[in-house]
């Protein structure tokens, strides 16, 4: 589904990603961990198509297409979803209004008919319940004045509505209380199926108790320095990232 090959990315004069290699197949869940500033969000943004990053080497293919030349909306239409580490507040833009426009833009791009207001609202309410998002938040401006946890739930809610093929969740677990964490995990698990894949960026192995990943990768200084299974997260939790550096040195 996603093949990242030797990806080098620069912002201004600063090279942030230094040769990422990562293959994600349909049905898999990959966790990406790594110290602050190692490039996890940068990788997520590049995959979703944010401007301002210069790809200096390497490639990323998604469903056989060159992902990096597509506009953000085209990627979304093809099923890519980014759950933001810091969801932006958008005053004056109603959550439901926006999401209806988003889902219909995607449906139209994929040759489907638009959802009418009634069907959309039914579906949105159902999904809001599923992810434990207070219905009153649906009628508010996107993320405006939402608590940190509410913003993260709103990301998961949008994911649940849009049903992406490839969900990239950038620290969606940060700032969530334990109940919310479980709900988010349920939201992600509900999406798991043989046709979809998930990339989870997280600092806490706790999330991985609820969403059991197929692979765990450690990103450091813009490179994946270690990959393993579920147990790698536990080792990291115990020993910290310095262990990796020492391991690399010896």
């Amino acid at each position: 589904m996603l093949e990242i090959n030797n990806l080098h990315v620069r912002v201004g004069d600063k090279t942030i990603l230094n040769g990422i290699n990562l293959t994600v197949k349909a049905g898999e869940v990959h966790a990406i961990m790594g110290p602050n500033g190692s490039g996890k969000s940068t990788l997520s943004h590049v995959l979703a198509g944010r401007a301002g990053y210069e790809v200096i080497e390497g490639s990323a293919r998604y469903q056989g297409k060159n992902l990096l030349e597509l506009s953000p909306e085209t990627r979304a239409h093809a099923g890519v979803f980014l759950g933001f580490q810091y969801p932006v507040e958008i005053p004056g833009v109603n959550n439901m209004y926006f999401l209806k426009a988003a889902i219909n833009a995607r449906r139209v791009a994929n040759g489907l008919t638009e959802l009418d207001a009634f069907d959309f609202i039914q579906m949105a309410k159902e999904k809001a319940k599923l992810v434990g998002l207070d219905e009153s938040l649906l009628q508010r401006a996107v993320n405006e004045g939402f608590s940190g946890g509410e913003k993260k739930r709103n990301e998961i809610f949008q994911m649940a509505v849009l049903e992406p093929q490839l969900a990239i969740l950038d620290e969606t677990d940060s700032g969530l209380d334990i109940d919310a964490l479980k709900i988010v995990a349920e939201g992600v698990n509900a999406l798991r199926d043989p046709d979809r894949a998930v990339i989870l960026v997280t600092h806490y192995q706790r999330l991985l108790d609820y969403i059991v990943p197929d692979y765990v990768h450690v990103l450091s200084e813009g490179r994946i320095v270690r990959s393993g299974g579920r147990e790698l997260a536990l080792t990291l939790e115990e020993k910290g990232y310095s262990w990796l550096k020492e391991a690399a040195a010896t």
Binding site: A48, S71, G92, V93, A105, A141
Partner: protein, 446 residues
């Protein structure tokens, strides 16, 4: 004589020749008011950019051509005005064509007792003495050329009077239509509104073109609010892109009166909206809201002037501009606090969104505060759409143009939400969406 002076002379000559035919021409004080105003206009001429109040706005192209003041007699198919009416809003409706009252298009209906509502020509002809409260400063030399020009003609418009403790049962919609096909015309409506103690009314002014000819509207509205009276005023300006719209709205407020205004400026090549509010009584309150859009080469200028003359009055101003193409928006907000106006509360903000690199916004707050125990704040911004917001929306699948449109609408949203009349807010929102769709492809999604 230079060209500008020639043009002023031409207007004055036409005014002089029309004068004897105007309503109440035989009433001495009215005749004097008009002729003094004509002299004032002759002396003042059109404003130039050397005048502080006109620093950002050049009326050069307006004064190079002549717009006839003579009254026109044009009959309009009632169907033609339908697009300009507010659906779902039951109103008293006065329609004016080139500022002349069109009874066939108007519906005043039955009025509650204590309410006088008629077109101004009727008042001038029948009970001109009622209008004196609006003209008592007629001894002083005028310093406002466009107001002088309007007063020099003083022919038609609206007269609304509410006796104390009266409520106007329905909103009053004043619809001003410009027609310029036969001859380029200057419409000069005058609207005089007086609400007695404790009275309440809602008034909507809207300005539209019926054809694509250039017109010049020089509108002047005056409002007198007695103690504890409340007026909500809405104004929609949507004349065609060749037209000129110059308007002033002057409000006098007695103690504990409330005035709320909502402006939406969309049309005209040059639009100037002046709003001056004198808070003459303790505890008076005004809330001034404005949204102005410009595209192409439009120029839109909002001038506010709030004077706190007595203690404990409140003023709030929120103006926002959305400027695209090579448009230019101006906001000049003056706040004056008299030495005895302690415990005044004055807030002002102006935010501008530039949608293109060639659009321009000028914002100039002017605060003159002579009392020490006051709370005054002002803030002004000029910015573009936020890249992070755009990316967020696009990452969910919104095409770029729709995302821009949605964010632009979001920028304007709070001004729509502030309007207490929901049918008006909804209709104006539709209008905004329509305009934004032309450049931003919003419509397909909403």
């Amino acid at each position: 004589m230079n060209a500008a002076a020639d043009m002023v002379a031409r207007y004055c000559a036409e005014l002089a020749s029309i004068a004897p035919t105007l309503p109440a021409a035989e009433v001495p004080w009215i005749q004097q008011t008009r002729s003094k105003a004509r002299d004032d206009f002759a002396r003042l001429g059109f404003p130039t950019r050397l005048q502080e109040a006109w620093h950002y706005t050049n009326v050069g192209t307006l004064q190079r051509r002549f717009f006839s003041l003579a009254s026109t007699d044009i009959s309009i198919d009632p169907k033609a005005i339908e697009p300009f009416l507010y659906t779902d809003l039951d109103c008293h409706q006065l329609v004016f064509v080139n500022s002349i009252y069109a009874p066939a298009l108007s519906t005043i209906g039955t009025l509650p007792s204590g309410v006088t509502l008629e077109n101004l020509a009727t008042t001038l002809a029948q009970t001109p003495q009622q209008l004196e409260p609006f003209f008592h400063s007629r001894e002083q030399p005028a310093d406002h050329a466009f107001n002088a020009l309007n007063t020099a003609l003083l022919h038609d418009g609206t007269y609304l009077h509410l006796a104390p403790n009266t409520q106007l049962d329905k909103p009053l919609h004043l619809l001003f239509l410009s027609v310029g096909k036969a001859e380029e015309h200057c419409a000069q409506p005058r609207n005089l509104i007086q609400l007695g103690t404790g009275s309440q009314a809602v008034v909507l002014e809207s300005y539209h073109s019926l054809d694509d000819a250039a017109c010049f509207t020089n509108a002047c509205s005056q409002v007198i609010l007695e103690a504890e009276a409340t007026l909500h005023h809405y104004k929609l300006q949507e004349e065609n892109q060749l037209s000129y719209h110059i308007a002033s709205l002057q409000v006098q407020q007695a103690q504990r009166s409330h005035f709320e205004s909502h402006l939406l400026s969309l049309g005209a090549t040059l639009a100037r909206h002046e709003l001056s509010v004198d808070l003459n009584g303790e505890g008076a309150h005004c809330s001034l809201n404005g949204l102005y859009l410009g595209g192409g080469r439009q120029h839109v200028d909002c001038h506010t002037e709030v004077r706190h003359m007595q203690a404990g009055a409140d003023s709030r101003q929120i103006y926002k501009g959305i400027l695209d193409g090579r448009a230019r928006g101006v906001f000049n907000g003056q706040v004056y606090v008299h030495p005895q106006a302690q415990k005044s509360n004055a807030e002002q903000s102006n935010h501008n969104l530039l949608l293109s690199n060639d659009a321009e916004a000028d914002t100039k707050p002017e605060l003159e505060i002579y009392a020490d125990d006051v709370r005054c704040s002002h803030g002004a911004t000029v910015g573009q759409l936020d890249d992070d917001m755009l990316f967020y929306l696009r990452s969910r699948g919104l095409p770029e143009d729709a995302a821009r449109g949605l964010l632009t609408l979001g920028f304007a949203r709070d001004l729509l939400e502030r309007m207490p009349l929901k049918p008006v807010a909804e209709q104006l929102e539709k209008k905004l969406i329509e305009i934004l769709s032309q450049s931003h492809g919003l419509k397909s999604l909403i």
